[in-house]
């Protein structure tokens, strides 16, 4: 069953088309990652799912939790906006209680204690929000989104600005939600997180869907055209090797994208001529690379077309 079904939805603000004829299906119990450059329509899409925005009248519609309802914010959906979203002057426990009551929860106090405990925030329960660090308020924000055990949780950039320890805590909490059957949609700029955590990845660019599917299916479309190498040698310059289309230099490692019909073996021998090859790995392009290929200014026109309306299990 699909928790969210978006069908040919368009949203315009004045002359600006924020989302263009978008279709998307989010299966129950999955983690769905939204990626895309800033201003490409991610937040607009999330807000439409939240019913904060309404799609332009016309063709399709949005079905959330099987309901087509056009108004009324849903108590079964939790939401974490990007970065902020808490009253600075209120105490942590008060904010959480207020948000939980707004979701229709009558006695949220035990749940609040449990969650504060779990995320290591119990001692801040009576502190004002303004005294919290960024990471801590992000965790409080997260609690407010999941406290009332919604069926669908929407997180806008949940991991941004967190140190590795807190990022791990939150990631564990998100995975735990999925284990309990909660569907999670989150947007992120961290491609590694998206690769590791998401069952499905959706990329929107300039209001259009450009990627949608599992990581495997997305990478498959690009084939094994990437080589990860580490070559020791003076003045090593991979760009000059015939058949290398693009170099992503990570310092110790370099990612080479091969032109079509380039033989990896001849590339290896070319590399060996230029230095000592320490690492040579034939691989599929990373999500990072795919993202950049699509969104880089003057991006190549060779993006494989995306199949619209992919049906998920």
């Amino acid at each position: 069953m699909n928790i969210v079904e978006i069908e040919r939805v368009t949203k315009t603000f004045g002359d600006h088309v924020a989302v263009n004829s978008l279709s998307l299906a989010v299966p129950q119990g999955s983690i769905y990652g939204f990626i895309g450059p800033n201003g490409s329509g991610k937040t607009t899409t999330l807000r439409m799912i939240m019913r904060i925005y309404h799609p332009d009248p016309g063709a399709g519609g949005i079905r959330v939790l099987g309901e087509m309802a056009s108004t009324a914010a849903s108590d079964r959906v939790g939401y974490l906006p990007e970065e902020r979203g808490l009253y600075k002057k209120m105490k942590v426990s008060e904010v959480l209680r207020f948000y939980a009551q707004l979701k229709g929860h009558r006695n949220p106090n035990p749940l609040i204690r449990t969650w504060l405990d779990r995320l290591g925030l119990s001692e801040y329960s009576d502190k004002k929000v303004e005294t919290l660090s960024k990471g801590m308020s992000q965790k409080v924000q997260f609690i407010s989104a999941v406290l009332t055990e919604p069926q669908l949780v929407i997180l806008d950039e949940p991991f941004s600005g967190l140190d590795p320890v807190n990022a791990d805590v939150l990631r564990e909490a998100v995975l735990d939600l999925r284990r309990k059957g909660t569907t999670v949609i989150f947007s992120t700029h961290d491609m590694a997180v998206a690769e590791k955590m998401c069952d499905f990845i959706f990329m929107i660019y300039k209001g259009n869907k450009v990627l949608d599917g599992t990581l495997d299916s997305i990478q498959d479309r690009y084939g094994q055209d990437t080589v990860r190498v580490r070559v020791e040698g003076d003045n090593f310059d991979a760009q000059s090797i015939p058949g290398v289309e693009k170099v992503n230099d990570f310092g110790r490692l370099q990612e080479l994208r091969m032109a079509k019909d380039t033989n990896p073996q001849s590339l290896l021998s070319e590399l060996m001529k230029r230095g000592r090859v320490v690492h040579f790995e034939l691989t599929r392009p990373s999500l990072h690379d795919i993202f950049v290929r699509i969104a880089r200014p003057g991006a190549d026109s060779t993006i494989p077309p995306v199949q619209t309306g992919v049906a998920h299990a």
């Binding site: 807000r47 939240m50 904060i52 925005y53 108004t71 009324a72 914010a73 849903s74 108590d75 959906v77 939790g78 939401y79 974490l80 906006p81 990007e82 970065e83 902020r84 979203g85 808490l86 009253y87 600075k88 002057k89 209120m90 207020f98 948000y99 009551q101 707004l102 979701k103 229709g104 407010s144």
Partner: protein, 439 residues
């Protein structure tokens, strides 16, 4: 509906617990009582340095009276208290005679002006030669007071009084009237300022009592001032709180749980609660102060419910406007410029206050008090000033304010819905109107 109440309770609790609320609560008694306290402290701290006044008396018949009056004043009138507590509270006036024989008037006044510039004199007075008998040449019948401190008019008024009294006396004597008889004949008739005569249940006629000027002016004025203060103290913070919800992205979280209109109404109800709390504190305080002072009969019981009704509607009306502004702008600076016209509306009753208190029954007063932004404050005044107004007028006023409030809340709801999620630059007034009209 349930969620609206939750929002209202939060708004109320947060507002009531802020320092701003407490300060606002203390503000009004401080402002009203502060004047008295400062006045009491300042008393006896006036400048009691001698003031030298030169007098050029061209009649030659008035200087002695002035000097005698000054001596009398300097010995008695400028002191307060008895015995050891006797203390000078006003400056002495030292009168100096100017020889009018030699120089002409023009030159003499220049000399005296120069002495004032040098600080030797505070002022000088020219008494024209024909002051007593104006028949010959009225242009010479002047009393001119020269100084470079025109705002200090104690000396001028004192001299005016003394000279006029003496001149009158001399003229009467000149015409062979007995000043004593004249004074008796021209005595003014005392006027009593009374309310109306009533008849009690037993048929006895109760004679009218002297009207208490202070109470009839002070009570309506205090009520209007109270309403103004409460409106200002409670509605303007709504702008800030809405702006915070917008810029801190709290609105997104809230709108994920509650529709925008309900959210806004919740905030408004919370603030109505705050304003009623404030009012209750003041009214109870005022009543206990009045009854302690023995003036309990002046407490305007009959107006309290009207006051509560008008205040609630005014808070809804202005509160919704401030919410709309808070939702439409992107920072406090933009908000300030939009607030100015709204503030003008809030203070508009002040412009006609004088006229309305003086003539609460006039057509202008009626018309102004039916102009919804001004209705709450002006109706309360017109009701509180005797003889009051027919009951259909406040009822019509309530109905009109209710309509205006609903219109404001409705329009604000539309502006709120669009504006609260807009980041980046704030909206122009024209855009706000378009949102309000088109939805």
């Amino acid at each position: 509906m349930h969620k609206t109440i939750i929002v209202a309770i939060r708004e109320y609790m947060v507002s009531v617990r802020t320092k701003a609320f407490l300060i606002g609560l203390l503000m009004m008694p401080l402002m009203m009582g502060g004047g008295f306290i400062v006045g009491a402290l300042m008393q006896g701290r006036v400048d009691t340095k001698d003031k030298r006044i030169a007098v050029a008396d061209y009649t030659g018949r008035l200087f002695d009276t002035l000097e005698a009056a000054a001596r009398q004043r300097n010995n008695v009138a400028i002191f307060q208290g008895e015995g050891a507590a006797r203390k000078q509270i006003l400056p002495r006036f030292v009168i100096e005679r100017v020889d009018t024989g030699g120089a002409d008037m023009q030159r003499l006044s220049l000399q005296l002006s120069d002495r004032i510039r040098k600080g030797e004199l505070m002022a000088f007075v020219l008494i024209g030669p024909n002051v007593i008998d104006t028949g010959k040449n009225p242009s010479q019948a002047m009393l001119n007071y020269y100084s470079n401190t025109p705002t200090y008019d104690d000396a001028r008024q004192w001299i005016t009084g003394i000279v006029n009294e003496q001149v009158q006396q001399l003229r009467l004597e000149g015409a062979a009237f007995d000043p004593k008889v004249v004074r008796q004949l021209t005595q003014r008739v005392p006027v009593g300022n009374l309310g109306l005569v009533k008849m009690d249940a037993a048929g006895n006629i109760i004679s009218a009592v002297e009207t208490n000027q202070v109470a009839t002016f002070l009570v309506p004025f205090a009520m209007m001032f109270l309403m103004f203060m409460v409106i200002m103290a409670t509605t303007t913070p709504l702008l800030n709180s809405t702006l915070e919800e917008k810029t801190q992205r709290i609105a997104e979280v809230l709108l994920a749980s509650i529709p925008p209109f309900q959210l806004m109404v919740g905030k408004l109800l919370g603030i109505v609660g705050v304003s009623l709390t404030m009012t209750a504190v003041y009214l109870i305080g005022a009543y206990s102060a009045l009854s302690r002072a023995g003036y309990a009969q002046y407490f305007p019981w009959q107006s309290v419910w009207w006051f509560v009704g008008f205040l609630s509607l005014a808070v809804l009306m202005y509160g919704s406007i401030f919410i709309a502004i808070g939702a439409a702008v992107s920072d406090m600076k933009e908000a300030q410029s939009m607030m100015t016209p709204v503030m003008l509306l809030v203070v508009s009753p002040m412009f006609v206050l004088q006229n309305v208190i003086r003539e609460p029954g006039s057509t202008l007063s009626l018309a102004m008090s039916l102009f919804p932004p001004a209705t709450p404050m002006l109706m309360i005044i017109r009701q509180a000033v005797p003889p009051g107004i027919p009951v259909w007028q406040p009822l019509l006023g309530i109905a009109l304010v209710l309509l205006a409030s609903l219109a404001c809340v409705f329009a604000a709801g539309r502006i709120f819905r669009v504006g609260i999620l807009m980041q980046g630059k704030g909206a122009k007034i024209s855009e706000m109107f378009r949102w309000a009209l088109r939805g």
